[in-house]
């Protein structure tokens, strides 16, 4: 019969027997292995090694700051991420332009010609494209950042490094993909007669800062969540589907403004979105300076755009700090959950 008959019943006895058996097995394995490792005896004198360093914790809580102290490592991770994206793909990097170009074509055709939204908006194509660049950057950073830790689990489990480096690398990868689009945008703006003012430049800088800070905060936060529940990467892509319609790019802001008195709550939620802020500020930079007749344009920006923008930037920086706090708290659990 079973061994349980011989031993007194009870959890601890069974446990002890299991341990004893495990010990025996390990001993036998050790005997088999004892000669398995070749023995190389030391020869020559032992030197003393003087280590010129402090006694520190092997895993410092440097966070984002530590990431930016290692630009070489960040560069390698970014190029790794790019290489991985285009592994076994014929068109390679071109895919990140084909997709936005197609989307632009569809939106331009459906919104512009079928719904004739371009009639009230001069340079509608640039109005739309500016928004698409901003949303594309945000979406790629957020979605890429969310998946980043999970995708790099082979490294995260075995090597010590500031793990914030993966979401940060997604920010850089997204910027790398967005830059040529911005270049296209600038060229078309120049063709259409771009007369920049300092106000426009300030709007552009503020808009970029808001987008980067918000995208990085979201990427950092969701990358940690995604380690625990993979549902978050689907949630992110679902929200990003909506995001294209939640910012004033395929329709002018005037339509939203028209509703601000009848639906003050909805209006406030709409403009509180940092991506909306970023899109509006970038339109102020790229699209608005093209227009000669600004009088007949109507309320194309919120009247309190600057105050809102500065407050939103401050909020985004606080969010980034909170995301970092959250990340440091839970990252200790990453190796066992991956």
């Amino acid at each position: 019969m079973t061994a349980a008959d011989k031993a007194p019943a009870g959890e601890s006895a069974a446990e002890a027997r299991r341990r004893k058996n495990a010990a025996r097995k390990a001993r036998r394995m050790a005997r088999n292995q004892a000669e398995a490792m070749p023995v190389v005896e030391a020869d020559g004198p032992r030197q003393e090694r003087v280590v010129d360093a402090e006694l520190v914790a092997p895993a410092p809580r440097g966070g984002l700051i530590e990431v930016f102290q290692q630009p070489y490592l960040l560069k390698l991770i970014v190029s790794r991420q790019l290489a991985q994206m285009y592994a076994a793909s014929l068109l390679g990097l071109a895919w990140s332009y084909v997709q936005p170009a197609m989307r632009f074509g569809v939106y331009y055709f459906v919104m512009g010609f079928i719904l004739s939204l371009h009639k009230g908006t001069p340079y509608f194509a640039l109005h739309l494209f500016t928004g698409m660049v901003a949303v594309h950057y945000f979406g790629e950073t957020w979605a890429g950042g969310t998946r980043s830790i999970w995708q790099n689990k082979a490294l995260v489990k075995k090597m010590r490094m500031p793990r914030e480096i993966f979401p940060v690398a997604s920010t850089v990868v997204a910027a790398y993909h967005t830059l040529p689009q911005i270049l296209v945008l600038v060229i078309f703006c120049l063709i259409c007669g771009w007369h920049l003012t300092w106000t426009a430049v300030a709007a552009g800088v503020l808009g970029v800062l808001i987008l980067v800070a918000f995208a990085m905060a979201m990427g950092l936060f969701f990358s940690a969540l995604n380690v625990f529940y993979r549902d978050f990467q689907n949630i992110v892509s679902t929200i990003m589907q909506f995001m294209h319609f939640l910012v004033p790019m395929m329709y002018p802001f005037t339509l939203v403004w028209a509703a601000h008195e009848t639906h003050p709550w909805l209006y406030n939620i709409y403009v509180a979105n940092p991506v909306t802020q970023g899109v509006l500020l970038l339109q102020r930079f790229f699209w608005y300076p093209l227009i000669e007749d600004t009088e007949g344009l109507g309320q194309h920006f919120p009247p309190d755009m600057w105050q809102r923008g500065l407050i939103t930037l401050a909020v985004c920086l606080v969010l980034l700090w909170l995301a970092q706090r959250f990340f440091s708290r839970v990252e200790n659990k990453f190796p066992e959950r991956l």
Binding site: M1, A3, A30, A34, L55, A59, A154, M161, P335
Partner: protein
């Protein structure tokens, strides 16, 4: 001599999660099953290692050896207690380096080197030595996912040993290598040992621990139950004896009997 590794009252707890989807969790909570369980992998361990000491870490499977190495390496942080180390740490944890499967051996070499703290210039300087030692020839430009486990271990070990670290951790990594390579690795480890590098060596092979280590630590269910420095003033033999790895075959027969009975 200076302190190289200082481990004070370190504990590490793991959460074993049984149910991952909401549906499974709901079913489990209706049946009153535990949703998760806590498991203490390393339990209140304290020791100090001097620079240049070579420590053999022994224990049965699942006794917390790899977890302890991960804590020293910095991949995990202890839940309680503190660990402090001096200088650069390199090594291989839980059979195999942290390679990215889609990258080639060459790209992984640079990435791994950067993570271990080497600059681009330093990696380039050591590149030939690393490739020579690993001796995997044309596979340097093949993605590592196509590597055999032996090639994987070769490249990982070669990078780690060439980092010029102050602390070297070796966790049963060489189990998959062939005999000539194992011999080469052991010789290399003796070389860095003589240069004064602190070594942590995990192995069940008593003869090789005897030759490589000055001191033996034995972990049992996460507890540090034997430290040869405390008990036998540094003898390695005591640790091997403690684990009864040098026992005669006397218990083998009844083991087989019991195993037979279990079946």
């Amino acid at each position: 001599m200076s302190v190289s590794i200082q481990v004070e009252n370190v504990s590490k707890q793991f959460t074993l999660q049984y149910h991952r989807t909401l549906k499974q969790m709901a079913v489990a909570s209706i049946r009153r099953l535990a949703l998760s369980e806590q498991f203490l992998a390393v339990n209140d361990v304290s020791f100090t290692v001097e620079q240049g000491e070579s420590v053999g870490l022994m224990g049965l499977n699942g006794s917390g050896k790899s977890t302890l190495l991960k804590l020293i390496n910095g991949v995990m942080r202890p839940d309680e207690g503190s660990i402090r180390t001096r200088g650069r740490i390199a090594g291989l944890i839980a059979t195999g380096a942290g390679f990215h499967p889609q990258l080639t051996g060459r790209e992984n070499l640079f990435l791994n080197g950067a993570i271990l703290g080497m600059s681009e210039a330093e990696t380039k300087r050591k590149f030939d030595a690393i490739v020579d030692f690993a001796d995997i020839g044309k596979f340097m430009d093949t993605p590592v996912s196509h590597y055999s486990s032996g090639m994987y271990a070769r490249l990982g070990f070669s990078i780690a040993i060439h980092v010029d670290a102050d602390i070297f951790l070796a966790d049963e990594v060489l189990a998959v290598g062939d005999r000539p390579f194992k011999k080469k690795c052991m010789a290399k480890m003796q070389e860095i040992r003589q240069q004064g590098t602190t070594i942590f060596y995990v192995s069940h092979a008593t003869a090789s621990v005897r030759a490589m280590c000055d001191r033996v630590l034995v972990l049992e269910s996460g507890r540090l139950n034997y430290d040869s420095k405390v008990v036998d003033a540094g003898s390695v033999e005591g640790g091997i004896h403690y684990l009864q790895y040098d026992d005669a075959d006397k218990d083998d027969e009844d083991t087989d009997e019991e195993l037979g009975a279990d079946i």
